[in-house]
Symmetry: D2
Subunit: 447 residues, 4 copies
């Protein structure tokens, strides 16, 4: 998600579109943009990638924005519908607001029940509708107090932006679970999920929004309100492992450097006698380079990825289904054949892809396949918005490392230790949520 | 709008689709269908005609309905957006409901303000969202009491259907302004705006829903609750003049017979020395037949209408713009030429079409053009959902009959008197709203 | 089809679009427009109605036309594909040409075989591609001679337009089977299938293109070349019965007058003791008015047609399929009930619709249903482009009138005699093809 | 392009679809598939990527294929239109055929003129239509002789497939300019442009089709006919430089190995004092790895590419336009900053992208930028189908290496020598066309 408060005659709708485009890896289900001309809010949203939802005509209709926000939404099973696209635009007693949200509340259902008990109706299944209802409920306290009250009531992971007719508001949850960054484009403040959006639109990164911080941008500039936070923050470590784009920087840590270092540490934790280090594109590449450098084993491209990987796949006949991952990736026979291969991936979730990867390498003539994973086994669900919903489907929940090695058919398997992973981000000065690895959750889901 | 409670293994989604198709004249902006399988509600809606919004694939997804409701929405300036398509599907403390609504409340904005003051948020500009919020607010009273309370609070014109997971509810406003009819298909109750929907789907008409009546259909059958009503009902007379389909019957009165009789009365109120009576397709045809029969002047088709009148017109060059109405209608030179023509239309709103009609007839060689209108001059806005929003644009507000005759360029002009019009529906036993003709409104819009 | 040679800064593409729109009843399968800017030809075509194929953007791309032609194509089973959309645009030794064609050749397959034998390839199954190949073959003779040669070689029904970079050519077959008319818009010549297109675009009708006539329009004006013709022409009588639009005039005869007169003659040939005359919309209406006038029996609207009859229908469940025609038409119970009805249709092809019509009237309470058809029984296939392909499916081929009456369930059935039908067009001075009624074909299909 | 002759109950349409998907890098303008059921040919084609043109519904219609061919087409300015999508399906005297073609003839216009002189018409601007016309012209000689005659007449680069109702034919031009490979899937022969398609669909590579070879596959198996060829073949060297997918093998040479070796040779030809070697994604990556390995300078990812690079870009405001390449690529500040960078790209065509790349690296803090190109300067147009149309736009035509270095703003610039490049493919035993580097063309374009 991305928002901008326009002080420079910028084409707000276009900047947001390209910002969403840069953040597309964070969600592919739906995209939407809302703009305000200072007195009223207009929006467009739809299912699919930003580039599918918007064209010149739809962007044209959003011209003239004094401020704007955009959102791309992550797919979660069973919720794929237009009603759940963001921004949510609502009217309330003070006028209108558009809201976008990354993350997941752990007590949304409870608040929703309370509000329903008090007579409220809900038209979507999104946390953001609960948030909008709370703001409307508290707004008589004044905007600032209403936001503080909101923060005291909702629990969980949220990076949140709210646009009213004349201001842009950003809120990061007190634990700082989801990232949120502040930048500037000419004299216009921009707020986004990751710094890669700033690079794409030409904005300068200023700083990360702080856990528990409320930022309000309007005609007069930027106001920051700090609300109480726990002693330690809990930035999602999985952002570094997989979720964020390699060229982003989160809370001071370069994702690229963290991933490369994870590879290097992996090399010392789990060395291998091998001829070549390769990565699984795209997310294993950086760690593979780190592993190669640290181990002295040459780095090579073992897989070529189809550049045109499409979104809509065809229900296939059994023949094609067997081909599976091979439609997206192809092992390079000539460089793999006859070699002992170290192959690096960022994580193993279900294990099905890893199994295919090993098979492909063997078919391509690899004589040994040593799988190395640049993070610990994913063993527990995420309660804060990453799509790892239940332990059941996690190969790491049911099996120990040897069993997993056996299932995927590798000659050896090594995971980076949690300590090793934490070392890669140690300069950050912030705390981390590592719930999916250790079940230590900074905040429990409420029943 | 149409709803059905399925007791016969019917394809609910398909019956509703064809029902909407029959009711398409009541609105062309958006279409939607919601069904319940007994425990949860699914829906699909979109912009455009029913035949544009639904295809086999979208209907397939709505299969298996225990009950269903559908809606087609009338265009009103400035509100053309997806968010305003119906059914509105909401969750509330007791589960889910889908709602559809024809008409317009006169105090929705006041209730909305009150609800907003109490902290509610609104995502659409539709009355139906206010109604949903009120039901949720009162639901602790029990469903029946909540509906009675609802009826006591909302004012204006409404034919309303509500579907919960396991029942179908229909409500007609105490004044009976908008029509609503009850029918049966095999053993399944059907409720619709007009009887023409019943004929299309093969259902039998039972009776009109009564003003102030609440109908609840569930597994056990039909329950009727009568709420207090004023002494006289106020069925919209414009339904007979223009809005309803000619083959429908409303509150016992055949629209066809009313229109034909309007033509006959017009012949005696405003006779003409003429050679041929023609109607403006489609809505003037029936009255023209009545006029011809009563006057003894032969009836003929003076205009041919393009059967493929499309929805999407092209921004035209001046040359084509001048052609105007002629793209839809063409005067039949051979039968018009050299004749004195009586041309019947159902009403004159802005006067621009009438002017073109007269021009076309003169160009086609008519030597005299006598315009006759089968209703009185429309002089006042409608507060109950017919799209006549302000007096300003009404030619009948600013001008008397002679002036209008002059503006449209006819040789003579005669409107049916209000008394004459009322005679055409006198057998109904119900009262009528004639606000657009006389400014006598059964219920005043609230400020 | 329609073509224009622009001498007046007209928006050629727009005029052709609206012309096609007026001619849409002649074909709904595909639509296309080609324009020349004087030196090169651009085109756009696609499947569906003109209003589906063209929008502002596609028309914009066709701006700046010095001349243009457009076509809408009739559906014929098994040929529904993009490749068969017209205009056909080809390059040949002298440059480019765009061609459109109405009708059907009886020797296209033979010529095609000959050309294939000589090495030609064909990319469509259209006659027009054969015609284009012949023009290219003969073009060394010069354009005029090539066209004369073409006319001497191709046999059958054809109204043909050819646009080169700098001229517009129209050809009507020597028998004059398909209609073609010449008009003028300001100083620009227009050629179209029917005069209703002229009315819609504001052009003046000049005259019909003559059988065997070649018209060439270029910068210098209009040239007419008359090629040899048989003694009697053979205009398709079915154009008057059903195919042409009621407001068109063909070879001097008003379609409306012919249809109305057919109704009147039918009244004297097949009188009925009845209370009401009604027509099957839309094509039976005019004859019904004629029948009523001649018989003295009152005319009424017995059916209401859904104004939004869509193109894409849904594969229905048995319940809905039974409803059949009723989805498009609804009988008006109130005016039909208890009456002896004369119902007029233009023709009976398979008989299935007529059967439903009779059923609907009985269900609506008609005590007698007398079906009258304003043309003779259709008993033979058409070889010239009307979609009556084989005798097999024709109810009139297998059954005599009494049997048909029995099958459709009417109380009586009367067809207009062929003599009676011919009387309705006797003023025209041209001969007629009546093959579908009498098997007298002006030119036999070649084997 | 890809073709298959089905001996194994394979889903031909699906295999071809995934084959096209693997070959998508060879063209993004249009896609098409034709199949034969043994007696008739069906096809579907459209504008855009294979995944845009085909979905389950369109593929369903192509089921049951005994053989099939598919094509994706390269964009060339001014020819972007549906008519130019392949396969071309034509009827000719012996029945039907579907044709696809990669490459470009140098005498197509002359043959086309001759055929037009003889009366032929052409509906597209594609070479393949000329080829189809020639086959039809010569077919009386019998298929084999017709193909031999075809090969003797057409000149230039062509990899060609022809499917008749009952056989699949592949032809590679006598110079072997464009690649073409033969494989087998179960017992079914497959022919494709590159081996990566075989890997994707699970087929085994057999061998390359030989220059001047005709392959005919039918029910009885495979027939090979060798036509006369010049002493030296002329495989396009640019396939190795840029065009082919890295995981393909052409005429025995692994594209990956050639690219990596090019990087290694570049390191010795143009060493650099630097801290990091990076590649421009995707095509510079492999050579960068080779350069790093050979030079001992560490390899790193300097750029992150947006994984969702879309097809339809929005006409941007000046602000966004300046961002240019950055929307697709982002330099990794953290690893580039303060370093002396060697950046490898495969070629420089216009120079605009290279300039942006250098700028981005400097903005990201690189202290020196040494551009290295893994091929010689592109100085001449390609006459055989690669989209380098005129020398005019080639930065290498107007400028020497120093000037180019200056224009793009690098600290140093080094191109791989032609000798060096040729070394990377020396094991192939085939000759190469190096026209774009040296203007030595194996066959001159005819005037």
């Amino acid at each position: 998600m991305i928002g901008i408060y326009n002080q420079n005659e910028l084409e707000v709708q276009e900047i947001i579109f390209y910002g969403l485009y840069a953040l597309q890896h964070r969600g592919q289900e739906s995209a939407g943009i809302a703009v305000t001309d200072g007195s009223s809010i207009t929006y467009h949203k739809g299912m699919g990638l930003a580039a599918d939802v918007f064209d010149e005509k739809t962007l044209e209709r959003l011209k003239g924005g004094k401020a704007g926000i955009g959102h791309i939404r992550n797919t979660r099973a069973g919720e794929r519908m237009y009603a759940n696209a963001q921004p949510l635009v609502t009217r309330y007693k003070k006028g209108s607001m558009a809201l976008v949200h990354d993350g997941k509340l752990v007590n949304a259902h409870l608040i929703r029940n309370d509000l329903e008990e008090a007579g409220a109706i809900f038209q979507t299944s999104m946390d953001i509708e609960v948030i909008a209802a709370l703001i409307a409920k508290y707004i008589d306290l004044g905007l600032e107090e209403a936001l503080k009250k909101l923060i005291s009531v909702i629990k969980g992971a949220y990076a949140l932006m709210i646009m009213t007719e004349d201001r842009l508001i950003a809120v990061r949850d007190p634990l700082g679970i989801r990232p949120l960054v502040l930048g500037i484009l000419d004299d216009s403040y921009v707020i986004a999920s990751e710094t890669c959006a700033f690079d794409t639109i030409g904005a300068e990164y200023i700083r990360d929004v702080k856990p528990g911080e409320i930022l309000i941008v309007n005609e007069d500039g930027l106001t920051s309100i700090q609300t109480p936070v726990p002693l330690h923050s809990s930035l999602c470590i999985f952002e570094f492992v997989y979720y964020a784009r390699t060229d982003s920087t989160i809370d001071g840590i370069s994702v690229y450097m963290a991933r490369k270092q994870a590879g290097a540490r992996l090399a010392s934790e789990h060395p291998a006698e091998a001829d070549l280090v390769i990565g699984v594109p795209d997310s294993g590449t950086t760690a593979a380079i780190g592993y190669a450098e640290a181990s002295g084993i040459p780095y090579g491209e073992g897989f070529i990825k189809n550049r045109y990987v499409g979104r809509t796949f065809i229900r296939s006949s059994p023949h094609i289904r067997e081909q599976g991952v091979r439609i997206k990736l192809n092992a390079l026979r000539r460089i793999v054949k006859g070699k002992r291969i170290v192959v690096i991936d960022d994580s193993i979730v279900r294990g099905t892809t890893s199994k295919k990867i090993v098979e492909m390498l063997r078919l391509a003539g690899a004589i040994e396949v040593h799988m190395r994973i640049s993070s610990p086994p994913v063993r527990f669900p995420c309660h804060y918005g990453i799509d790892i919903d239940t332990s059941d489907q996690l190969i790491g929940y049911h099996n120990d490392v040897d069993e997993i090695c056996n299932i995927i058919g590798a000659d050896s398997l090594g995971y980076l230790s949690l300590e090793g992973l934490m070392k890669t981000v140690e300069g950050s000065g912030c705390g981390f949520c590592r719930g999916c690895f250790s079940a230590e959750y900074p905040i429990e889901p409420e029943k």
